[in-house]
């Protein structure tokens, strides 16, 4: 199978995304933005989509995409995690795109490919389970119900909505009501989405709908690990940088052995997280039979590494790490929130128990 290492194309992609994010979405910019009524930087999203073609990486060239795969998407997510940039990328270019691809939809996909519009998948961000969601009912050709804590809902132009049936529908933003909620991670807005006799275009039904949703959630879990990897990497790097320059007791803090050993342990775990996240991205990108295991593994391991490293980053920054003005808390909030997203590590361990025959 494909190797885990980054290809040259992936490294180039990373470089251009990083350049854009460094330029447009530094920590101070993010910090300033999250308390405005426009936490998302839609101009950045557009630039990402148009300058680097990020939005349509796994979409076929015939549909306006890059004809690459979710492996490349994962590289973009690493960078977005590193900058905790508020963009609707995960909901649109991962969740919605994966659902549409799996459902064989092409119309909306073509629009998403260029990033002119964005979409998201209408499930709670913490969704995990084997049952098809039943929050939305399809009656008389319209959809009704409320889906809570939907990621990237506030800026989405379209929603991919699972409804009782089971079936998947595409619903335009104009047909739903969105209530923003106060989120633990202020860099990633969530909203409750209510449909009241909303018009929906059905794109899959029955087993097809179940299969498409399952694929989308699996891809989401697998790729979220790349974002978490980016969060962990950057949290570790900034901590190392800080400890090299901060002097106490006449020495740089980074020369204190107890701190060095903790950073070494953190680095070891990030190293592992990288291998695990890359494996998951590769598996979903190639429809590998191991993809279910790889995705569960990724959320069981990488999500915890991100939380632990972000916690260490706050602690090792000392007082300044506890302030609002320093970006360390943004990484902590992102890490902890994503550890709940699409199932907790404990949920995914339980799933692994079934997948690899280690029952209780």
């Amino acid at each position: 199978m494909s190797q885990l290492l980054y290809s040259e194309e992936e490294s180039d992609l990373r470089a251009s995304v990083r350049a854009l994010l460094t330029d447009r979405s530094g920590p101070d910019v993010v910090l300033g933005r999250i308390e405005t009524d426009q936490p998302y930087d839609m101009a950045l999203w557009k630039a990402l989509a148009e300058q680097t073609g990020c939005a349509g990486l796994p979409i076929a060239e015939a549909q306006g995409g890059a004809g690459a795969s979710f492996r490349e998407t994962a590289v973009v997510l690493e960078e977005l995690g590193r900058s905790v940039a508020p963009t609707p990328f995960f909901g649109s270019a991962v969740l919605a795109t994966a659902a549409l691809l799996a459902a064989g939809e092409t119309e909306l996909l073509s629009e998403l490919a260029g990033g002119a519009v964005s979409a998201t998948l209408a499930v709670p961000f913490s969704f995990f389970g084997n049952d098809f969601p039943s929050a939305v009912r399809a009656e008389g050709g319209t959809l009704s119900g409320t889906v809570t804590t939907v990621v990237d809902a506030l800026t989405a132009d379209y929603f991919v909505v699972p409804a009782e049936g089971p079936a998947l529908f595409v619903v335009a933003a104009a047909d739903v009501t969105r209530s923003p909620i106060v989120t633990l991670d202020p860099t990633r807005p969530l909203a409750d989405v209510t449909l009241e006799k909303a018009h929906g275009r059905q794109i899959a039904a029955g087993d097809d709908a179940v299969g498409a949703l399952t694929a989308a959630l699996r891809t989401g879990a697998a790729l979220l690990a790349s974002e978490q990897l980016g969060v962990a990497e950057r949290a570790l790097e900034t901590t190392i940088e800080y400890l090299k320059t901060r002097y106490q007791f006449g020495r740089p803090l980074g020369s204190f052995q107890a701190l060095k050993h903790r950073l070494a342990d953190a680095w070891v775990s990030v190293t592992q997280a990288r291998a695990v996240a890359r494996y998951a991205a590769t598996c979903v990108a190639t429809d590998d039979p191991d993809a279910d295991i790889a995705a569960a593994l990724a959320q069981a391991q990488v999500s915890q590494v991100a939380v632990t490293v972000a916690e260490e980053a706050v602690q090792l920054h000392g007082g300044i790490g506890f302030t609002w003005e320093h970006p360390a808390h943004l990484y902590l909030k992102r890490a902890k929130s994503t550890s709940l997203a699409l199932g907790t590590a404990a949920n995914h361990r339980a799933r692994l128990a079934t997948l690899v025959d280690l029952p209780l």
Partner: protein, 398 residues
């Protein structure tokens, strides 16, 4: 001769007979009662006579407090004036002149005057002795310039305990001087310091040409480090805290959530919960051990251990609480910048507790510093090679 427990109880009874607390309704009555209690030596019985005490054993205080509480007497809001009671008072007692003791201790204890602490500096961090706030003598006054940080209650305080640098040409521990700082001085500028929870419990305090009379100095010029050590030692003793029932702390909130929400339970989180329940009991029983030691007059080194363990436990519990909350864990209640006068740990969301608990291992001595202290002062392990011991403060690498 110091009074015995029965003698003290009799004094309390006599006092309460003379000062009936049941009718107290106004602030002025409350204050009058507290002043009388101070003057009767029943404020802190281990303090000297005339300074709110009776030279009694420290361990007798609890019974006195309980007797007052049982009689429905008003208290001095000990949480609000914790820094005064726990840190300023013992230092003033140990290093203050008679005039200073007479001036400061009574309104400190009654709560008429709130105190705060001006020790930490952004440039010094855990290396407190590296602090750089300058104090320069100017006749009978001192001129203070510098910046302090992590100051609770600075915006409500009348006085502060303040450590300054008076001699930059000697090694850092030797060039400090300790003062009482007048927080109403026009050179004192208090600004809220926002923290990761969104609110601002603490402040930054900018000191610009603050003038303090030499009579506000505590201890000798250059002896500030030793004075500060007294303050900090008392801080650590007081951190041990009071008796707590089982499930009295953060674990109680988590356990209640578990009991009330069977739908959240999974085998993995169950074992995690039980481990934390066990840890919480261990921490609680260790607190009991510590209090027994204090009562027996042998304060053990377990105080540092207690703070270290409490921080770790609180962080783990709140982390699991957010996890257990699942979808609700993604929510927060309020990011608005506010200035609470106290930490409302239990009235808020798991996410708040998770974030606030991160401060437990930083504030009042980081867990790393506590581990240093335990390993050297308790276990007797040798210190690391010191590169800053004999270097003049001004030449330290920064």
């Amino acid at each position: 001769m110091s009074p015995t427990a029965p003698a003290l109880q009799e004094q309390v009874r006599d006092f309460l007979a003379a000062h009936d607390p049941t009718g107290i309704s106004t602030d002025e009555q409350r204050l009058e009662f507290l002043r009388a209690r101070f003057d009767a030596g029943l404020a802190w019985v281990h303090f000297p006579s005339g300074l709110g005490g009776l030279d009694a054993a420290r361990s007798l205080q609890t019974e006195v407090d309980e007797a007052f509480a049982a009689a429905g007497a008003p208290d001095n809001s000990p949480r609000r004036i914790g820094i005064g009671l726990g840190m300023a008072a013992p230092t003033i007692l140990a290093f203050g002149t008679d005039e200073q003791r007479q001036r400061f201790l009574r309104p400190l204890w009654t709560g008429e005057e709130v105190w705060c602490q001006l020790f930490s500096e952004p440039g010094a961090g855990s290396d407190l002795a590296a602090l750089g706030t300058k104090a320069v003598r100017d006749g009978e006054e001192w001129l203070i310039n510098g910046q302090k940080v992590w100051t609770s209650l600075a915006h409500q305080a009348r006085w502060a305990i303040l450590v300054t640098r008076t001699d930059p040409d000697v090694p850092k521990h030797r060039g400090m001087t300790y003062f009482v700082c007048d927080m109403t001085d026009p050179g004192v500028d208090v600004r809220p310091l926002r923290q990761i929870t969104g609110e601002a419990e603490f402040n930054e305090v900018f000191l610009s040409d603050v003038r303090l009379p030499d009579s506000y100095r505590l201890g000798e010029v250059g002896d500030g480090w030793r004075v500060a050590q007294t303050t900090l030692m008392n801080e650590r003793v007081s951190i041990g805290g009071g008796a707590m029932p089982r499930e009295g702390g953060a674990i109680g909130t988590l356990a209640a959530t578990w009991r009330e929400h069977p739908e959240l339970r999974t085998p993995g989180t169950h074992d995690a919960l039980l481990r934390l329940w066990v840890d919480a009991e261990a921490v609680r029983l260790t607190g009991r051990w510590l209090r027994e030691q204090l009562a027996a007059g042998v304060p053990g080194p377990e105080g540092s251990a207690a703070k270290l363990a409490f921080a770790q436990l609180n962080q783990q519990i709140s982390g699991l609480e957010v996890e257990l909350a699942g979808e609700d864990g993604l929510r927060y209640d309020d990011w608005t910048m506010r200035r609470p006068s106290d930490v409302d740990f239990f009235g808020r969301t798991p996410g708040y507790r998770y974030l606030r608990a991160k401060g437990n291992s930083i504030e009042g001595g980081t867990s790393e510093i506590l581990r240093n202290i335990i390993s050297e002062r308790v276990l007797g392990l040798p210190s690391e090679p010191r590169v800053d011991k004999d270097v003049p403060w001004k030449d330290l690498p920064r």
